[in-house]
């Protein structure tokens, strides 16, 4: 159902006339709830803009005629060699080498979003598969996988990331790999828990009675019922992956200069911020806005998938009673781990 169709059906339902009643799937109902959440919609728009900017960064750079590594020693630095503040020529000012911070920030967005999204994708795929197998098969399989998961969760991730970077040299794929490695475990725990409870349901028994293979039951019967918390956690994993990457770059073991990452820009700015506030503020603000947008969107998605009349600290969002959006919750009552993420 397209958005306009949903809208027209919505208004005619309010008129309470006999229209052709199309069956709305739980996902469609959740989508309608999400659309009505202003904060989530705003965050979604921000993220969309960010993605567009990141994707078209090279075009923008060409349009302005500056590249991210180009050092404008005459126009970008003052006579004393200090960075130039925000002006018509350099929207966000320049850094200590006379490079355009605006261009570097949007290139940093490319790195952050790429790392954030791809490491989350890998973590989700790995976490879901491990969780499903451990939960469904139980026994020895579960014992091995669960212990492995617990071991991964127990690692001090920052130390290990630094050690690995020192060993293999910092490069982008290593960063993605490290972040994915430390993110999948929490997700697989949640999936395993859900699978354990879902496999006792009668429809799973019915699937076995028909002769469905375990693989079919896991991915066609159990997985759709597990997807809702997975989506919420995935959306909340992205900002933590972005921050993780920024941290690694900040420490010098992430993205290698001159490639700009918000993390290494912040790191570089620390000796300059007393004189050149823009050097620190703009990358930090970009990081803050991105992280905040993903977190708020994740909250909105969780509320859309699992509506509750009252949520602790949910004072800022009150459901409008007039909206005819109800329907079954997609998520079993949230476990504490979900809220912690």
């Amino acid at each position: 159902m397209s958005l306009t169709e949903v809208q027209t059906v919505g208004t005619s339902v309010e008129a309470a006339s006999v229209q052709s009643i199309a069956g709305r799937s739980p996902w469609q109902l959740a989508w309608r709830r999400l659309r009505s959440d202003k904060v989530a919609v705003a965050s979604g728009i921000v993220i969309l803009l960010l993605c567009l900017v990141a994707v078209f960064a090279p075009l923008i750079a060409d349009a302005t005629g500056k590249s991210y590594a180009e050092q404008f020693r005459d126009t970008g630095l003052t006579n004393q060699g200090l960075p130039v503040g925000p002006s018509g020529q350099f929207w966000f000012g320049t850094d200590d080498l006379g490079r355009d911070i605006f261009i570097r920030v949007i290139y940093g967005a490319r790195i952050s979003l790429f790392v954030g999204l791809s490491s989350t994708a890998i973590a989700v795929i790995a976490g879901v598969i491990v969780g499903l197998y451990a939960g469904y098969f139980g026994g020895a399989v579960d014992a091995v996988l669960a212990r492995f998961t617990d071991t991964v969760l127990a690692f001090p991730y920052l130390l290990l990331a630094i050690a690995l970077a020192a060993l293999f040299g910092p490069n982008l794929w290593m960063v993605i790999g490290v972040i994915a490695f430390f993110s999948w475990a929490a997700l697989s725990r949640i999936v395993r828990g859900q699978t354990l409870s879902l496999k006792e349901k009668e429809y799973v028994e019915a699937a076995r009675a028909i002769g469905s293979s375990p693989l079919r039951i896991m991915f066609i019967d159990i997985l759709p019922n597990v997807m809702a918390p997975v989506i919420v956690i995935a959306t909340l994993l992205v900002p933590s992956a972005i921050v993780f990457e920024a941290t690694l770059s900040f420490l010098g073991v992430g993205v290698v200069p001159p490639t700009p990452s918000w993390g290494n820009m912040i790191s570089d700015s620390l000796s300059w911020y007393t004189t050149s506030w823009w050097f620190l503020i703009f990358p930090s603000a970009a990081l803050l806005v991105t992280t905040l947008a993903f977190n708020l969107l994740g909250d909105g998605i969780r509320d859309a998938l699992d509506p509750q009349t009252e949520r602790i600290f949910a004072g800022r969002r009150r459901r409008k009673k007039s909206l005819p959006i109800e329907g079954p919750a997609l998520v079993e009552p949230p476990r504490p781990e979900v809220d912690e993420v």
């Binding site: 429809y203 028994e205 019915a206 699937a207 009675a209 002769g211 079919r216 019922n225």
Partner: protein, 359 residues
């Protein structure tokens, strides 16, 4: 079914259960676990199901009837005993070998709300057997599913709806359609109407009856509602605490049940006519069903039986034909109820001895 004008089901034995035993061990220990006790869910059950007939399996909660159904359907492994289907042994078969039998043995579940995946569309749920057994796909599958939906009384245009959009009775019809998809020989109905209200129950029972005559189905009908079982079954088996108490033709068991437990069950069933209900004496049994962890020695029923004697606590009564009964009517009792015997009085005396002072 029990229609007097219909010919008696003349069939060879489709399903035979021999001495089926299922014990769930209770283990304690940290690293090395010892078995300290076992829950005897099913403790030596023999059953026979002839082609085309309906066998009703009754018993109260905890008697093991639902679990017995699942063992026959191959959903859980059994501890010992044999299940023979169509002449072939299907006891504890691994999944690959059991696969062809899944086309012939299907199951209808009790809970219309839990037995359908809420996240899948109805067409996909009913068409699942076709996909799993690689029989049909795409448009052909959709056509077959819609034919099934029509046959069970659903609107085929609701193919793309979700289970949440159907009522309880309709959901049970979806379950019936799913079970019927592969034209099985045997359908195990695990309390298919218990979760529905009475008017809908009648519709579903009539549907099952029609399908049985149209498709030549054999039913194992499990229920705790005696009047429902009487309506649908050709033969009845009564279970108590994992063992069979009595089996026989429906008419024989209902009119002249020989086991005291059967008599108590029948007396407890509500009668529609208030005058008849008033005049009927209820046999109120002492105590509760014992835990299957520690079943009583000898006859399982003896602590609550108004006719129990010392022999009953020592020797397990075999399931055999008692004098005066037809060959098909077997009872597991040392002192079966004779015609005209009034158990109500004996039960009251037993209760007074066990719980003195209670009215």
């Amino acid at each position: 079914m029990t229609d007097a004008t219909a010919p008696a089901p003349a069939g060879d034995v489709l399903l035979r259960v021999e001495n089926l035993v299922k014990h769930y061990p209770v283990r304690v220990g940290v690293l090395v676990k010892r078995e300290v006790a076992s829950v005897k869910a099913v403790d030596g059950v023999d059953l026979e199901l002839r082609r085309g007939e309906t066998l009703g399996l009754v018993g109260e909660t905890g008697s093991g009837k639902s679990t017995l159904a699942r063992y026959i359907a191959g959903l859980h492994p059994v501890t010992s005993g044999h299940i023979t289907f169509d002449g072939r042994d299907i006891t504890n078969l691994p999944r690959q070998k059991m696969q062809p039998f899944r086309r012939d043995i299907q199951m209808i579940f009790q809970d219309p709300y839990g037995s359908l995946n809420p996240r899948r569309r109805v067409g996909s749920i009913i068409g699942d057997p076709f996909t799993v057994h690689k029989i049909a796909s795409g448009d052909k599958r959709k056509r077959l599913v819609q034919e099934l939906m029509e046959r069970v009384g659903l609107n085929p245009e609701h193919y793309n709806r979700f289970p949440a959009e159907f009522s309880g009775g309709q959901r049970q019809r979806i379950g019936v359609a799913r079970a019927l998809a592969l034209r099985p020989k045997l359908i195990i109905c695990d309390e298919p109407v218990s979760a529905l209200d009475v008017s809908i129950q009648a519709q579903i029972l009539n549907l099952l009856e029609d399908l049985q005559s149209d498709f030549g189905l054999t039913y194992l009908f499990i229920a705790h509602d005696l009047s429902v079982v009487r309506h649908v079954s050709d033969r009845v088996a009564v279970m108590y605490l994992g063992k069979l108490a009595e089996t026989g033709e429906t008419g024989d068991v209902y009119s002249s049940g020989r086991h005291p437990y059967t008599q108590a069950l029948l007396a407890a069933a509500p009668a529609a006519d208030p005058d008849e209900a008033d005049s009927r004496q209820r046999i109120i049994l002492v105590g509760d069903v014992p835990s299957p962890l520690l079943p009583p020695p000898g006859c399982r029923f003896h602590p609550r039986c108004p006719k129990a004697q010392e022999l009953c606590s020592q020797v397990v009564p075999p399931l055999e034909v008692k004098s005066g009964d037809p060959e098909t009517h077997r009872t597991a009792c040392h002192f079966p109820v004779e015609t005209g015997e009034d158990l109500a009085r004996a039960a009251d005396m037993l209760r007074d001895r066990a719980e003195p002072g209670l009215g």
